[in-house]
Amino acid sequence: MRRLPVIYGKQHQANIIQWIRSGKLPENSKYADQYDLFNPELFVFDPNGNRVNGKLVNNDLGFVVTFPGSEDGFYSIYLVEKFVNNDTLNIRVAKTERMNHSCRNGHDKALVRVQPKIYPKQIPIEIIRKRVTGENLHTVMHPGNDVTFQVLIKEAPCKNGNVQMSTHKGWVKSQTTNNKGEVSFQFVQDDNTNIKELRQRITFNYLIHFKKTIKQNGNFNDKHYNFITYISTFSDNYRPSQMLYSSFVWALFVIIGSVLTLTAGIYIYRKRRRVEYKEIALNE
């Protein structure tokens, strides 16, 4: 499986997607190189749906995708491989979305600008992350959020397909798509999120993996096939839950409040119980 995980940064006005990696789980996927790929075709679409000239580059960062672009909104990046193995046509698509936004450009029509787009002519299989209510140009997924994905094969919803979600910290869950081709997951809290990760606002990856084989005859590059296997991955990122910050703060309030209240209570109790020393002189 190919992964196009999180955005690495910008270099020479080209957006660079982090290393292309192989593997089903974020925690143990290996970095890919050009020799791992089968006739890869790269598609990069800007937020307006126009194709942008992207490149697969082997540089000092590793094997990466670069593309120019400064439009506000989601850039959609796809790495597509097609090849026949035995009697099966394998169609493998690795997808990621890259939000490009500068607040200087304003936030007009943010709800519209974040909507997903599909490209059925070039991309036969799509995994779409359904936007959350009120999603804007700054929305980041956090544990505790519900997140829904829709799988489309040639624009049609793919029902009864197996979709697996796995997170950077190793949480894995599989679900079957409904009639609309949708599955929903709730991000679980990563137990081992530590305060350092929270403070540094570290971003983690998650990966959606979909695979389905259908019976269909045909020819591809003069090779005959009887089955088509669709494999698609969608990678995105999330940050530790914002709720964790407030959870820590609330806990600090509660523990400091309880210590202060009890201390004050004990002090007042002791003060009230103190009997002043009075010398009594008995007149005998």
Partner: protein, 331 residues
């Protein structure tokens, strides 16, 4: 042999205890860093929420094991529960409640907080007899709570709906140890209020409140938390058959009250009871302060399988306290 016995009888047990406590505290708070894992069924509050602990409190194992359906409970899986319990019992029988007085890191922490209070010159509190009588029941309520709730999560009681898993583990989530002990390794992840569900919110809030209560309570009352500790309740159920015992010879007792005055928990029977031979009471932690403070020869004696280990002696008392008077003053 007599020389050794005299040396032990005259020894400063409190100093020995301090060093044992220091070593065991390091072991059960930081032991994991050296790959130490003594057991998962220890009769002390070695808290597994502290990722570096060198062992695990039996109560968390017990709660996890009791999160089981009736059918499984009375199957081969029940044998695993019995095995764990047997391990706990073997550990416990050797040292009896001295686990609390010498080994428990939470007890040690309370003793250190007491030392801090003393050095600041703040006086301590003592419960009235009637209050003490009621408070000591609380630990048995906690014990019942941690035994019943895991079963009620996995099973339906009398046709009632099963409890939410968010109540689990029912004691650890409200135990102040869960919040406090990880702090010693710089881990603040347990100092948190969990808003994910109502039971989680209630339990984690109670846990943080209990931590605040623990810190303040331990500052004004010696061994404050031990009175509410369900491990102490579980231990007392088997204390009578333990190998290490504290015996009292009522005929030699002058009721001077020294033993009560030095008792951190405040057990009055230690001074008043002159009929019982085995004087290990409900809240006793076998710290042996009473043996140190008893000026009557062999009035109080610690035995292991009837073999005398340390006895109260007049000589030892005067050596330790360096006083002309047999009656100690309050702190």
């Amino acid at each position: 042999m007599n020389k050794i016995k005299t040396y032990i009888d005259n020894a400063n047990v409190s100093r020995f205890r301090f060093w044992v406590q220091l070593v065991t505290f390091i072991l059960f708070v930081y032991g994991g860093y050296w790959g130490i894992s003594i057991s998962q069924n220890l009769p002390i509050f070695a808290c597994p929420y502290d990722h570096a602990t060198g062992g695990t409190c039996y109560l968390i194992s017990l709660q996890h094991q009791l999160h089981i359906t009736w059918a499984n409970l009375f199957s081969w899986r029940g044998v695993a529960i019995l095995t764990s319990f047997g391990t706990f019992l073997i550990f416990f029988l050797v040292l009896n409640k001295a686990w609390c007085g010498f080994v428990c890191p939470v007890g040690t922490l309370q003793d250190w907080i007491t030392k801090l209070r003393k050095s600041l010159g703040i006086r301590f509190s003592r419960y009235e007899d009637s209050t003490f009588k009621y408070l000591k029941v609380i630990k048995y309520i906690f014990l019942l709570w941690l035994l019943i709730v895991p079963l009620a999560i996995a099973n339906s009681f009398f046709g009632l709906p099963q409890m939410s898993h968010d109540w689990f583990p029912p004691f650890c989530t409200i135990c102040p140890t869960r919040v406090i002990m990880p702090l010693f390794t710089g881990d603040v992840s347990q100092l948190i209020i969990d808003f994910s569900s109502t039971p989680s919110l209630i339990m984690t809030t109670l846990g943080v409140l209990a931590a605040g209560l623990f810190l303040t309570g331990s500052f004004v009352k010696k061994r404050f938390f031990c009175l509410f500790c369900p491990m102490s309740a579980l231990q007392y159920l088997f204390s009578k058959i333990a190998f290490l015992r504290l015996n009292k010879d009522g005929n030699k007792c002058t009721k001077c009250g020294n033993c009560y005055r030095v008792c951190d928990v405040g057990i009055k029977e230690i001074a008043d009871d002159i009929t019982s031979k085995n004087i290990v009471k409900d809240d006793c932690m076998l710290c042996l302060k009473c043996v140190e403070a008893c000026p009557e020869d062999r009035c109080l004696e610690v035995t292991f399988l009837k073999f005398p280990i340390i006895s109260a002696t007049e000589e030892g008392f005067f050596k330790r306290y360096g006083t002309d008077n047999k009656e100690l003053k309050d702190e």
